[in-house]
């Protein structure tokens, strides 16, 4: 557990204890509401977690590495952005991976596109986002994130 997760537990935990003392009924009522909302999401989330496992089996990190280091920078950037959108790999795997290919002399543009879509665009979470925030919101946010990820990558390629 990283420090921020611990912090969140600590703050929320203390708030919860205070809340229970202050007004037990109110707290439990709110929890009932939350339970209903989260219950609707839970099936989806479990599906998402197992889908990530599947995707990682078929697009493992060493394959991603090949895409990132492609010789045609333009094509490599688009593919990297797409791969980043589909996969969800943890930061402690992603940064060393990207670091190693940048050290090898590959262009940073595909690397940045990949890193940015990795977290900002969620192919696997899209269905859940649509359910909770509506089709319009989910399409707009993921679509724009994809476009901006490529813009960020291009600007970084120019200034770094």
């Amino acid at each position: 557990m990283d420090i921020f997760t611990k912090g969140l537990w600590l703050i929320t935990g203390s708030w919860f204890i205070v809340s229970m003392f202050k007004d037990k009924e109110r707290t439990l009522n709110a929890m009932k509401m939350s339970k209903k909302m989260m219950g609707n999401m839970l099936g989806q989330i479990i599906g998402i977690l197992f889908l990530i496992g599947l995707i990682l089996t078929f697009i493992p990190p060493h394959v991603i590495k090949e895409y990132l280091g492609g010789s045609n920078v333009f094509l490599a950037t688009i593919i990297s952005a797409l791969v980043g959108s589909i996969t969800l790999i943890p930061a402690f795997v992603a940064f060393p991976l990207v670091g190693s290919i940048v050290d090898m002399g590959a262009s940073i543009v595909p690397a940045v596109a990949f890193l940015t879509t990795l977290t900002m665009v969620g192919f696997v979470t899209f269905n859940l986002e649509r359910q909770e925030f509506g089709k319009e919101f989910a399409i707009a946010r993921n679509g724009l994130s994809f476009v901006f990820a490529i813009l960020i990558a291009l600007v970084m390629g120019v200034i770094l």
Partner: protein
């Protein structure tokens, strides 16, 4: 049973893929389950606390506070708080969904919700440290600045494109043009009775709906009562939200 399947279409779909894979290539299926292990652990560490957090926001943070700090009229304060809040929070993006949904319900603007969601996903302090270590501090700082700017612009654009009515809310289960009072929220203040006495009456310290048929002319009155309700307990069903719902789901008159 069918209802359950329908509700969890996505999960059923994933399970089916696993079944097929298990038959055709057991090895790959086992590997996939193993790969999922890390994410399941991550989920178990974060979702209980997110559940508590949304409950506490729901129970204690007044609508007014959210509207002032994250609402449409929050000015520059809104995006700033959103960036900070998203950055210091923990967990993957799906953990942000329930929190953002609750904030949205309490009056946060769409643009600020986009900022919180995106910052929650992308800007993580432990991740930034990792990035500086494996790439370079300069790389990390440049990407951070560019990402923050992009997120703010995205929030602005999306708030222009997506309307509040596009976002499914609890109200989707109410029949069109009818009123629903969430009893557990009503504090019996009587404001609704004062504003629209033809529709609401307070009995036994809870407001009840005495006329559920909103005509066009007086609808504003009910709308006003809904907005003024300090507990945010009044819901009005609209045509748009119910368009995809079947009748079995609509709630009977209160």
């Amino acid at each position: 049973m069918m209802e359950k399947f329908k509700k969890n279409k996505f999960l059923v779909f994933v399970v089916l893929i696993y079944l097929v894979l298990f038959i055709t290539s057991t090895e790959k299926a086992v590997l996939s389950v193993k790969n999922s292990g890390y994410y399941i652990k991550e989920m178990l560490m974060i979702m209980p606390v997110v559940f508590l957090l949304t409950s506490l926001i729901e129970a204690w943070v007044p609508k007014k506070v959210i509207m002032e700090n994250l609402g449409d009229e929050s000015g520059l304060k809104g995006p700033l708080i959103s960036i900070l809040f998203g950055s210091v929070s923990a967990g993957p993006i799906y953990a942000a969904f329930p929190v953002c949904k609750t904030l949205l319900k309490k009056g946060a603007s769409i643009s600020n919700i986009v900022v919180i969601l995106s910052a929650w996903a992308v800007i993580k302090v432990p991740m930034l440290a990792n990035e500086a270590k494996f790439l370079s501090p300069k790389f990390m700082a440049t990407r951070w600045i560019l990402t923050t700017i992009s997120i703010l612009i995205m929030g602005y654009i999306i708030s222009k494109v997506v309307k509040r009515e596009d976002i499914p809310m609890e109200g989707e289960e109410i029949e069109e043009d009818t009123i629903l009072i969430k009893e557990e929220y009503c504090i019996g203040c009587g404001i609704c009775e004062k504003l629209a006495s033809e529709y609401f009456r307070v009995e036994n310290k809870k407001a009840i709906v005495i006329n559920n048929n909103i005509g066009n002319g007086v609808e504003n009155k009910v709308q006003k009562a809904k907005e003024k309700c300090p507990a945010n307990a009044i819901q009005i069903g609209t045509v748009k939200r119910t368009k995809e719902k079947h009748s079995a789901k609509t709630i009977k008159e209160v």
